[in-house]
Amino acid sequence: MSAVKSLEDLRRVKEEELERRKARAASSRAQITVGMGTCGIAAGARETMQTILEAIEDENLGDIIVSQTGCVGLCEWDPIVEVAIGQEPKVTYGKVSPEKAKAIMREHIMESKIIRKYVIPAYA
């Protein structure tokens, strides 16, 4: 990390990072994000994350980015897992137990089939 000394520096860091992301997104097929706030972790997000990482290793899925994020506030639905395949809109799954995580990896990630019954419903 280089020190940011001006607004131009900040813009440059941002541009470079966006470029890096574009390159990474081009070479990856899917992005998985797990909500890891205290509430998510208490509901079992660590186990869910572990399951996802194991599934990636078992199936040799090198082209998937897994990242963590904070709590979004939908605590009722923790653990929450977001899946985005390519440029498609992201899908937000709720109450993702390790078993559900396995199913999501199998069906959504490997076969591109969204598991509707696990998706958190929109509010309005």
Binding site: L7, L10, V13, Q68, A124
Partner: protein, 547 residues
């Protein structure tokens, strides 16, 4: 009972009333009953809906369809088409045009999750909190850059002042004014303190911000430091928030490496650094002067005010103390301007408010909504209705020190002024929703138990008052309360408010006062009839248990 399917709101500002809104409301109720939908559809008057071109307006959720102007004669057709046939009532829809206020906010979010399109929580749950690049990609540190390179400190304070931002910790003090007080003193050094000692039962909004978006707190504190002339900041964080502390520490060290903290930030001559200070679990340390004492290494007991921290704060120096939620409003205001910020919320309480919603609703969690939304809307839209179709009895806002809001106030806009006029307070952002099975004596007892345990014991009104009030409430809940007990409770409540040294004792009286004000008959039933109407109290008749 079926869960509530639709929420029908009728505008009831003076102009709507003049054009027959009350008759529309009455006919809606009748038509809904005639269609046998009264268990599935809620109708209510909502006040000013934010646009005045087609009054009276009828808004139906969850579809957020806006009809207007609606005459009483239109009502049967509207109910038949929209609520029975579930299609748009042709010809009645209001013209689409720019909306304002909470209606605009809700309409723009049709078909999304409550987690999308937010201001304060924009990045929480979206970015990786341990990755500073992720923050930068999502416009992070741009507000700090703008403040330091394009604005003078006075301009920053002016912008915050114009935005109308008020403290979100509960008191609602204008943030711009607080900053101005500190900037006007010539006493240096000055300090920026972020109050992250979130201990009110049922609140966790600050934790979510700290865990999900720690860099925003750092950026906001640096902007505040620049505005008032402070070079040092403290984050006083609740000891139990371990994950938040770790993520803050990571974020601070990243910010130092990147040059967002330290010397000559963004090439200006402004320097700023932040320390984390963990609390040790005392509720009262969320009070700003007790918090300052605690940072100084003393017992966390409040100071007498005045003088206020704006002139005599940390180490006796001028200090800004801002709540986490308050201060993270700052970067978006600086970035987009005060005029943009004032588009959200009401004219006297602009912006949004973050609430934790819990209790007897179908969906609990954390929401960000514009100021001025009503409790009824929050429950119907975000809480997905009451659990098991029960009806609302009361809501406790802001944890134990908040108000007990009876169901009759559920159409009062949730903003500082409207709530103050109704004699209740918004509190720090918890909405505990209670159904008819909740006993108010039990609720007051639980609150007093909390205050009794948290009282430091320094002053008698609080030390003895909270203990004695708890004993009396316990006796009432056991069915052995007397008329004398009620009189004593009334007096204790008044004494707590008037004679306690600090806010803890003063607010300990709030649950008693509110229960007496709104639910006196229910308390009397416990004493005179020896009956708990809600069926929640033990009523064992044994005083021994009451001790």
């Amino acid at each position: 009972m079926k869960p509530i399917r639709s929420l029908v709101l009728v505008s009831s500002d003076p102009e709507s009333i003049g054009r027959g809104a009350q008759e529309v409301h009455r006919r809606l109720q009748r038509a809904i009953e005639a269609a046998d939908l009264e268990n599935e559809v809620v109708v209510s008057m909502v006040g000013d809906v934010g646009r005045h071109d087609a009054l009276p307006m009828v808004i139906i959720y969850p579809e957020a369809t806006i009809y207007g102007p609606v005459t009483p004669e239109n009502v049967p057709f509207l109910v038949e088409e929209h609520l029975v046939e579930r299609r748009i009532a042709a010809g009645l829809e209001a013209s689409t045009r720019e909306l304002s206020g909470r209606i605009a906010w809700l309409s723009a979010r049709r078909g999304t999750l409550p987690a999308e399109q937010r201001i304060v929580l924009a990045r929480a749950g979206l970015i990786d909190p341990e990755n500073v690049e992720d923050y930068i990609v999502h416009d992070g540190y741009e507000a700090l850059a703008k403040a330091l390179t394009e604005m003078t400190p006075a301009e920053v304070i002016n912008e915050i002042g114009k935005s109308g931002l008020k403290g979100r910790g509960g008191a609602g003090f204008p943030t711009g004014m607080k900053w101005r007080f500190v900037s006007q003193t010539d006493d240096y050094p000055k300090y920026i303190i972020c109050n992250a000692d979130e201990s009110e039962p049922g609140t966790f909004k600050d934790r979510l911000i700290l865990e999900g978006d720690p860099h925003s707190v750092i950026e906001a504190m640096a902007i505040a430091g620049y505005a008032v002339g402070a070079n040092e900041g403290y984050i006083y964080i609740r000891g139990e928030y371990v994950l938040a502390q770790e993520r803050l520490a990571t974020a601070i060290s990243q910010a130092r490496q990147m040059g967002f903290l330290g010397e000559t930030i963004f090439g200006s001559d402004f320097s700023f650094d932040i320390h984390i200070h963990a609390g040790a679990g005392a509720y009262i340390c969320g009070e700003e002067t007790a918090l300052i004492e605690s940072i100084e290494g003393k017992r966390g007991e409040p100071r007498s005010r005045p003088p206020y921290p704006t002139t005599h704060g940390l180490w006796g120096k001028p200090s800004v103390v801002n709540n986490v939620e308050t201060i993270v409003n700052v970067p978006p205001i600086i970035q987009h301007g005060a005029a943009w910020y004032r588009r959200f919320g009401t004219s006297n309480s602009p912006g949004t408010k973050v609430y934790t919603i819990l209790g007897n609703v179908n969906v609990t969690g954390l929401i960000e909504v514009p100021m001025g939304i009503t409790l009824r809307e929050v429950i119907a839209i975000y809480g997905k209705g009451m659990q098991d179709g029960a009806s609302l009895k009361l809501a406790q806002t802001g944890g134990s020190s908040g108000s007990i809001v009876p169901a009759s106030l559920q159409d009062t806009p949730l903003d500082f002024d409207s709530y103050a006029r109704a004699g209740v307070s918004l509190g720090s952002g918890a909405l505990l929703i209670c159904n008819e099975d909740t006993c108010v004596v039990d609720l007051a007892k639980v609150s007093l138990n909390f205050f009794k345990r948290e009282s430091c014991g320094k002053c008698t009104p609080c030390r003895v008052g909270t203990q004695r009030a708890y004993q009396i409430l316990t006796a009432i809940s056991e069915g052995v309360g007397t008329q004398q007990d009620l009189d004593d409770l009334q007096m204790l409540s008044e004494n707590l408010t008037e004679f306690s040294h600090c806010g803890l004792g003063q607010t300990a009286s709030v649950p008693i006062r509110d229960v007496f004000r709104h639910f006196r008959a229910e308390v009397d039933a416990h004493v005179q009839l020896k009956v708990c109407p809600a069926g929640a109290c033990p009523m064992s008749g044994q005083l021994a248990k009451a001790a």
